[in-house]
Symmetry: C2
Subunit: 499 residues, 2 copies
């Protein structure tokens, strides 16, 4: 039985952890949105120092001992034991790293992010390459301290998606390739769907005005959320009732900012809807990257690209752009935003070819860590992969190797969760459609009814259960990739009149 | 002689202090600009906790002892001794407060700010009154721990402007009243200057586009600064090469955002131009509130309201608003932005009546702390004061008692420095005009030449010297209020053809 005094110590510790997490989250959001670049070096050094403070708090031996005790103490309630287990797991993978190395790494990640941004702006991979190399080196070093029997990249995969490894992802991607490669081939050879009107000149201020209506429809309220603009859209959960998302407006692509907004609001809503009793602790976060992406991509694709969604919103969008969309029907618009084609940019890729973009990154990451691929010439390796899997090649590095932010701070192992999450979504939505009239909710402007279903069956659990358990709770079955493949096959067969 | 080990300890301590200061500054800027209100309570509690961490660092007895030793150690260079002296002074006024009370006060100030904002939005003083009362109470309590022989409000005045007290301010305001009250009377009875064109409909997006050009002219670069929007414009110095300002756009007042921008950039530039060797320590801050306001008001009034300034910028502004300004000459425009009249809002007041707005706040603060004025009915006290000194009364609390943010976080004693700073500016500008052709620099688009003079004679010193010393260094004389009164008399006599 753990003493009241110790439990109070745990509560105080929780509060301290949440304070530093909040501060670091605000500092990061600020850096990635508005902070003047000139102050970057000064800020990064101090941010790294504060990360070190958090490191010390998280790895405090007395607390680690207490967490170890708590996670197995049958006298405690299940929520508390689960939280203790997750904190303990985090502490164990952190405390093995020497603090000064941890702090130096945080500073490197900040600098590497800046270098990536500069490289992307200047279309010059060579600016980013030395940082990428160092980031990989430092990740290698950090994982080596764990003394795990697992392969290095398997550990990374497991960190983002507990239980996953190369073997399982290989099988997953194999299943995708088997059914999607021929389907993509057929779609690309079919009569193209008209979508040129999406790429006319769309005034950005006008896009922003529509965006306000969109955010209202999605119930992303100013009371708990704020949206900014960045080169690479992201969502950052600052604390309870405070979620920041960003989007990026493109003058010659009206759908881009809209769909990225819907995507990010999916992430935001997931964490916003965790059970209130988990406030201020680890249980109020999303359980895994795959589950997170399943919610963002569910919003974006399984809701945001449906006809019902646009039956409500399209007249509003068209009213902002009468010149460009006045003669375009809602059906034409919905077909256009679902067009599948070989393309370069992952975040703007259609649902069908999207997993191929992920496969490429997965193959590269595997290679970077088994030594078969090097950072030198990685821009060319990238281009060759795109040629191989998508039959298309980038003209400039900003549309090739430099398009994604993830590697700049060493988030290796994250990418595969995008594809996995998309596949999770299919199974969730199948169940959701059995239990409620999704289309009627969307069409009548009641997006919140869909959110309510997701909250009830997924969001509220936060980290209380692992992803496979939540899949069973929400859908009654284990995860089955065929739900995803069936969905894609049916959707694209219909859209392109393949039969 | 202080050991190397101790000096290293001091350096480490400096870094820690700067890290927490940076974090708190970013969190505060975030709160005051974009943070969702729903997360306020959660954030405020944790921000207060982090302030407490900084409190502990600043008041660490071992460090305080070291600072005490350092400030008088002749073996150390003057910069280091000065910094140690200022840190020591800060520590002594902080460490007497019990930490838990300090943390609670920080949290109260955050909540009080929120209450003020809500009260202002809803035009309802009663929402803010209970907070204001508590804030005054807590400030009283905090100062009582100092066990000073000085009067309470004198201590507050001294905190913002070292060396100042009621006696000196009373004399200062008396001098102002003696010469300005009759001048204001004459101006208000003179033939009015036409300024109605300033208050037409000015599209806010268009104002923002001009604002970019203005910021460029002022050399407020994205490399070291970022401007956002808030209800009450402010400047927040996050760290070296990182300064945040805000402004507020009004649809029916084209000059408001412009002049508030110039004002805030004055604050920003002052700290940006401190000597680089003071980076990361207290010496790189502005020395006093009066000196800070002298720089912001120098930018706003002594440069930003001159004809030369607008000879460069007015054609650009008029190009954005051909309909509203097409028939208005630069002379008419400059006269209009210098119109003096009895008005309600301090931040939009003209130079001539501005000190009266300050006098009112000074009288109220004195009364709040000598017990002759209470927070109950303070909205009416406020209105009566405006009636007495400016012959005008607010229709709503948002334009009366609730217009200013300062009292919400207990910044009592700050207001008088606005008037003092304005008076400082007059003396600085008089000298500056003797030494360089200010008008030629402004008119030819070389604002940076004025900034260079200010940097050389004022900005670079940061906190190295007290305000009266800087006045002597920069102008060769002690501060004399008559420079200010002469300036105002000459300016308004000419503008209103009073003789």
């Amino acid at each position: 039985m753990i003493s009241q005094k110790k439990l109070q110590k745990y509560q105080d510790w929780l509060f301290r952890v949440s304070a530093y997490n909040m501060a670091l989250s605000i500092i990061m959001t600020d850096k990635m949105t508005v902070a003047p670049v000139g102050g970057g070096e000064y800020r990064d050094a101090r941010t790294a120092y504060l990360s070190g403070e958090l490191f010390s708090i998280i790895t405090d031996p007395e607390i680690v001992e207490l967490l170890k005790e708590m996670k197995d103490d049958e006298d405690l309630d299940g929520d508390t034991r689960r939280a203790a287990y997750l904190y303990y797991k985090d502490a164990m993978s952190t405390l093995c790293i020497p603090k000064d190395e941890y702090v130096k790494a945080q500073e490197l990640f900040s600098k590497s992010y800046d270098a990536w941004l500069e490289a992307k702006t200047k279309n010059d991979y060579s600016i980013f390459e030395p940082y990428l190399k160092q980031v990989i080196e430092i990740r290698r070093q950090q994982y080596s301290y764990r003394n795990s029997d697992m392969d290095l990249y398997d550990q990374m995969l497991d960190d983002y998606e507990p239980g996953m490894n190369r073997e399982k992802y290989d099988a997953f991607f194999e299943a995708l390739k088997t059914r999607l490669v021929p389907l993509i081939e057929k779609v690309c050879n079919a009569e193209p769907v008209e979508d040129s009107f999406l790429y006319l000149d769309y005034d950005i201020e006008e896009q922003k005005r529509f965006s306000s209506e969109l955010l209202e429809y999605l119930h992303f309220d100013a009371d708990w959320g704020y949206q900014n603009e960045t080169e690479h859209p992201f969502t950052n959960w600052v604390c309870e009732n405070d979620c920041r998302t960003t989007t990026k407006y493109l003058k010659n692509n009206v759908a881009s900012a809209i769909l990225s907004t819907v995507h990010e609001v999916g992430h935001a809503t997931y964490e916003h809807d965790c059970d209130d009793r988990y406030d201020g602790m680890i249980l109020s976060e999303g359980i895994s990257s795959g589950m997170h992406e399943s919610q963002s991509r569910l919003f974006e694709n399984y809701l945001g690209r449906t006809k019902a969604f646009w039956e409500y919103l399209y007249p509003r969008l068209a009213a902002h752009f009468p010149e460009q969309l006045g003669n375009v029907s809602v059906d034409q618009f919905v077909n256009a935003i679902n067009v599948a084609k070989r393309s370069l940019i992952r975040t703007e890729a259609d649902e069908l070819t999207y997993p191929m973009h992920i496969l490429i990154r997965y193959e590269i990451e595997k290679g970077l860590f088994d030594g078969s691929i090097s950072t030198e010439g990685l821009d060319e390796t990238w281009d060759a992969m795109y040629e191989k899997y998508l039959g298309i090649k980038a003209d400039k590095a900003s549309e090739g190797i430099l398009q994604d932010v993830h590697w700049s701070d060493g988030s290796f192992g994250y990418f595969p969760t995008y594809a996995l999450g998309s596949a999770f979504s299919a199974q969730f939505v199948k169940k959701m459609r059995e239990e409620m009239d999704v289309d009627e909710a969307l069409r009548s402007g009641h997006f919140e009814k869909c959110v309510a279903w997701l909250k009830e069956h997924i969001h509220r659990y936060g980290c209380r259960y692992d992803a496979p358990e939540i899949m069973r709770i929400a859908t009654g079955s284990d995860f089955d990739v065929n739900n995803y493949l069936d969905y894609l096959e049916e959707k694209y067969t219909n859209l392109y009149h393949l039969k």
